[in-house]
């Protein structure tokens, strides 16, 4: 390396032994754009002697080309990885850096201070043990400082170093330092950050970065590196109850059945009594299997494979836990949700939630309140935009085992996934199970759907008509219902306009309300299918996600999607209700096809062309499809 660590040359064996025993601290750095964060990390890398001569040479060359330090070494350039960013002089994503000193290994998550990138900071903080927050001494505690501190505390980081940087620009003034420290501590206390160390710093000049500085004789605390090398790594999880989310069932032959995963809480040894959740079955740990020989004990953080004494059912997504301190099991929660996607969160829309090795369906209720991350005020909200944080209730499609996030990050933290794009659209922290979920159990009813349907001589199902306003949905649905009625079938027609006069009269036409509109109708349709009816639903239902939700409410073979495919121009020309005219003149907002999108079905059971064929023929083709599906018996 650029500067020879002497112990390496003197006694390499000894050096390697001690190096192997070191532990690992992961930390995050946060600060505003010009606080000198990249400079600080670059300086830490430089001072910990992990830069090679060719990297230094490249740095020198780039400092001359892009640098902001008048040709002097610009440490920020070491970090700004992507070409575009290098040219703009900003960091726009999470970058991970690695260095080690004689005492410890470090992984740094470098995250940007931009307003629109809250998601990156949350990402970096989710794996960090401690946080280093930068403040520009000339500017003091800013809105961004408050935001970063709040996010750090939200993600469960309790130890913070406040690096009051650019102290050289204020003449290394103790008064400036003291004033900032006072102000910050007051604020930190409010948000529960009680373990704060304030360090006067100049990342650029190197004061108090790795050693005390002659420029701050009034400061008696540790240098930043000193803090990082000695701060205790929080390992509360290791002392908690045993938790092992099962990732993979290891089955090489009929004689071996192991359960693989990473321990995320407590410890385990052969003979321990464990419970499988959510099923609740119990057994005893037989072996902790490892390639180099079985282990006597394994602890949080290790990836292991267990075998059990009894043949009980365990699959991926289950959790093996200490039998005497199991987690709670529930399907409704209060949680903090951090929205990360540019498409807004829509209450009621079906999303996926991944927690541990389990992925389940979820819908999020309208936020109880969102949090202004700058002022920590609670604000009313109907939806969530990118980088907004709110407290909401969640409704899962099956029960899961969990611990509150404050007790265990791994069994209480989750990500949200869009069902259509598969993007990670948000993250969240579970607070507690809602009492109604613990107390309301599904009532098993003996006269079931099959019994209801058998009495009527058909198979109940949903016939879902989707299409633009004026496409002819209701006309065709009407004819289909008349035909079914004539055949002696028990039907019911749910019409968009009619339902909005009653059940859904509290809903408007925003995207969020449209989602809720369809959610309710899908649930009503399901109840009617349960009652044994053939349910015709005639709704614009513009979004694929909600139609898919409706389809998933009932069993396979009980949903027949009809795409009434009328081109916008034709529907607009018909304009039977005069709505297109209103929408075009701006008197009707959020009108599908005009200023609100329509997502055509990709796999409708029947596609109806209303330009080329008459409604009567369309109805016939739908009846034919219902026969093919065995609905008409």
């Amino acid at each position: 390396m650029a500067h020879t660590p002497d112990p390496v040359a003197r006694d390499i064996e000894h050096y390697l032994e001690s190096h192997e025993r070191k532990d690992l601290l992961r930390f995050i750095t946060c600060g505003s754009v010009d606080d000198g964060k990249s400079t600080l990390i670059g300086r830490l890398l430089y001072e910990s002697k992990v830069l090679y001569e060719d990297q230094l040479a490249a740095l020198e060359a780039e400092s001359k080309k892009f640098g902001t330090q008048g040709g002097d070494l610009d440490f920020a350039l070491l970090l700004d990885g992507l070409t575009a960013e290098r040219e703009q002089g900003i960091t726009i994503d999470v970058a991970y850096r690695f260095f080690s000193t004689d005492k410890r290994h470090f992984i740094v998550a470098d995250t940007p201070g931009h307003e629109q990138y809250t998601r990156n900071m949350v990402t970096g903080a989710s794996t960090a043990d401690v946080a280093v927050l930068l403040i520009d001494a000339r500017k003091g505690v800013l809105t961004q400082t408050r935001r970063h501190s709040y996010l750090v505390s939200l993600l469960g980081i309790s130890k913070v170093a406040l690096a009051i940087n650019k102290l050289d620009m204020v003449g290394y003034s103790k008064d400036v330092f003291d004033a900032i420290e006072r102000e910050y501590r007051e604020f930190a206390k409010e948000i529960g950050l009680n373990d704060v160390v304030c360090i006067p710093l100049s990342a650029l000049k190197g004061d108090n970065v790795t050693a005390g500085s002659v420029n701050t004789p009034w400061y008696r605390g540790p240098s930043l590196m000193g803090f990082l090398e000695t701060v205790e790594i929080p390992n509360a999880v290791e002392s908690g109850p045993f938790r092992l989310p099962v990732q993979w069932v290891n089955r090489p032959n009929l004689d071996f059945r192991g359960f693989s995963g990473r321990i995320v809480g407590g410890a385990v040894r052969p003979g321990d009594r464990v419970r499988v959740v959510p099923s609740g079955k119990e057994s005893t740990v037989a072996r902790v299997v490892a390639k180099a020989g079985d282990l006597e004990r394994a602890v949080a953080g290790q990836s292991i494979t267990l075998t059990l004494a009894d043949e009980i059912d365990v699959s991926r997504g289950d959790m093996l836990v200490a039998a005497l301190s199991p987690p709670e099991i529930a399907d409704q929660f209060e949680a903090t949700v951090i929205w990360m996607h540019e498409d807004e969160m829509l209450p009621g829309r079906p999303y996926l939630l991944k927690i541990g090795a389990k992925t389940v369906g979820v819908s999020i209720a309208a936020p109880k309140y969102k949090i202004n991350v700058n002022t920590l005020e609670h604000l009313a909200a109907k939806t969530l935009q990118q980088n907004e944080i709110a407290v909401c209730n969640l409704n899962l499609d099956q029960p899961i085992a969990f611990d509150p996030y404050v007790e265990n990050r791994d069994t209480g933290g989750f990500i949200l996934i869009d069902r259509m794009t598969n993007d990670t659209i948000g993250a969240g922290l579970l607070h507690f199970a809602l009492r109604r979920s613990q107390n309301i159990h599904w009532q098993a009813i003996e006269v079931n759907k099959q019994a209801h349907g058998a009495l009527k001589g058909h198979k109940p199902c949903v016939v879902w008509f989707t299409g633009l306003s004026g496409s002819g949905k209701s006309t065709i649905a009407n004819i289909v219902e008349k035909k079914l009625h004539a055949l002696g079938r028990h039907t019911y027609l749910l019409d968009g306009d009619n339902v909005r006069h009653g059940l859904n009269k509290d809903l408007g036409f925003t995207e969020a309300d449209r989602v809720e509109n369809i959610r309710r109708v899908a649930e009503v349709a399901r109840l009617m299918v349960d009652a044994g009816l053939i349910v015709l639903v005639s709704f614009i239902s513009p979004f694929r996600a909600e139609r898919r939700f409706a389809r998933e409410r009932v069993e396979p073979g009980e949903f027949c999607e009809i795409f009434v495919d009328t081109p916008l121009g034709v529907a607009e020309q018909r304009d039977t209700k005069g709505l297109y005219k209103k929408a075009r003149s701006g008197n009707l907002k959020n009108f599908t096809g005009i200023d609100s999108p329509y997502e055509p079905p990709e796999h409708a059971e029947v596609r109806v062309d209303t330009v080329g064929s008459a409604p009567e023929a369309a109805a016939e083709s739908i009846i034919a499809q219902l026969r093919r599906m065995g609905v008409l018996g």
């Binding site: 064996e13 532990d23 993979w248 990836s303 541990g356 993250a427």
Partner: protein, 299 residues
């Protein structure tokens, strides 16, 4: 009990591999024969023990690898009893693409980048493990552990999914595939220390030995076979050399060294003054060259 640094890294890598296997249909491990691949393979043997890793190995061969690498590849696969797929780009073979006539950029693109895409498409792999580390290069430092590629195998650094805690979202859209990097958080020193601690076999080329080399453009190139054209007056010299990274022999610079044990290698590395990739001719082509290659589908 606090886990040591290497224990924590090992546990994370195993976690990543198991998750990828559980969440994808047809995974494969990119096996490049180098030290990082050796570590990755060793971790896979641990992750799925007593089962064999439930995926084959894939080597995208350029026909220009060191002979000792190919021998090592054969002995490793036999020792561990694993399935190995070797893909050789037939177009590159037909055109006789080589670094001498076509230059390093074209050679690497056609043999490796195009070859890799062909192989992944041919076998329909939806996830491929790679041994890349974030400390290797700046554009790698920002890449996710589960890194998505379009149907055309392109990487879009602006469209990366956030990765929180230990929760990896492995859900793909049609045509997409995933590159999974279990060694993302390892450094070069970690890799060497782990090889030493676990006694992992590596290609002998990493150890110093007397080998025939010629000096070209400031790099020592080993004359590994008769295909290497010698320039007028150029004669191979026998020197004590070793390699810090392994690739195509005409593109891989050796360093003069007497380090013939693992401990000596680590010591030499700690005392060295140039970084690992400098031995690779491909990275020097232009600034940001790795990022450009990755956008185009290089691993």
């Amino acid at each position: 009990m606090t886990l040591t640094h290497l224990q924590r890294l090992e546990a994370e890598s195993i976690d990543i591999m198991r998750e990828a296997v559980a969440e994808t249909e047809h995974p494969v491990m990119l096996y490049s024969i180098g030290k990082d691949s050796s570590v990755m393979l060793h971790l896979a043997m641990k992750a799925f023990h007593p089962s064999k890793p439930p995926f084959p190995l894939l080597h995208v061969d350029t026909t220009w690898k060191f002979r000792e690498m190919i021998e090592f590849r054969a002995s490793t696969v036999q020792r561990l009893g694993l399935e190995l797929i070797v893909h050789v780009n037939p177009e590159a073979l037909a055109l006789n693409i080589n670094p001498f006539t076509h230059g390093s950029a074209t050679h690497t693109d056609i043999w490796k980048t195009q070859g890799l895409k062909q192989a992944l498409d041919k076998y329909g792999f939806d996830a491929a493990f790679g041994g890349a580390r974030r400390d290797e290069e700046k554009s790698r430092a920002k890449e996710r552990i589960f890194s998505f590629r379009s149907a055309q195998h392109r990487w879009d650094p602006k469209m990366q999914r956030p990765e929180l805690w230990r929760l990896y979202n492995a859900r793909k859209n049609k045509g997409e595939s995933i590159r999974v990097f279990p060694l993302s958080n390892w450094t070069e020193l970690d890799v060497w220390q782990y090889i030493r601690r676990e006694s992992i076999p590596i290609v002998p080329l990493y150890f110093a030995k007397e080998r025939p080399v010629v000096a070209r453009d400031g790099a020592l190139i080993m004359v590994d076979d008769e295909r290497m054209p010698l320039e007028a007056g150029e004669r191979p010299m026998l020197m004590n050399v070793r390699f810090r990274t392994l690739g195509c022999y005409p593109l891989t610079g050796a360093i003069e060294s007497d380090a013939d044990t693992l401990t000596a290698i680590i010591q030499e590395m700690l005392l060295a003054t140039t970084s690992e990739r400098q031995g690779r001719v491909i990275d020097r082509d232009s600034a940001g060259s790795m990022e450009k290659k990755k956008l185009e589908g290089y691993f």
